[in-house]
Symmetry: C2
Subunit: 84 residues, 2 copies
DNA sequence: AAAGTATTTAGATATTTGACTAAATAACTA
DNA sequence: TAGTTATTTAGTCAAATATCTAAATACTTT
């Protein structure tokens, strides 16, 4: 659970998830959405990957990122447990 | 959303929520569950309060804390939006 | 009023985090 | 193969975080 909460505890990373919800994008396209350097975005992507919230697959020169929402099921469970 | 994610991004604070799920407790009782100083627990309680995840009501010398799960509805919505 | 208990506030310190620039790696293109 | 593009890794720095001890505040009890 820890890497998941950690990954979600940043507005930039949450926005990355929101833009990936609509469409897979490569690292450069993701970086273009933000006013932050590419290395910083790369770091955010790394944290999201560590939490399994995204997956990156190399397509030639590019790395295409997709969201993976299945990890959030644990989070949903945890919240619902607290609410019951 | 930010203070919510921030508050949840700590194992001690998540455990505080879990023990408050079962039963309201005062600050001292909460502190007794952990191997951490009372001032540190007080700080964690403050962050949880800022996120409206708990409420504290003074009962004489004690402050009784209760969980408030309604704030998590926004979080649930956010997660479900990403999953749809 | 003085002493004791419960909790928070203040101040200090070590660790973590998010950002940057510069350099490294990997793949494509001429 | 040399140059260009995409992305990550390395190293640095400032700001944020989690912890501690000591002191302050607030209530209760004697």
């Amino acid at each position: 659970m820890n890497p998941l909460f950690k990954a979600l505890n940043d507005p930039t990373r949450r926005e990355i998830l929101e833009i990936l919800k609509d469409k897979d994008l490569n690292a450069g396209e993701i970086a273009d959405h933000f006013d932050i350097s590419k290395p910083s975005i790369s770091h955010h992507l790394d944290l999201l990957k560590r939490a399994s919230l995204i997956t990156g697959t190399k397509e030639g020169q590019f790395i295409n990122y997709s969201i993976n929402t299945t990890v959030m099921d644990d989070l949903l469970q945890w919240i619902l447990k607290l609410k019951s």
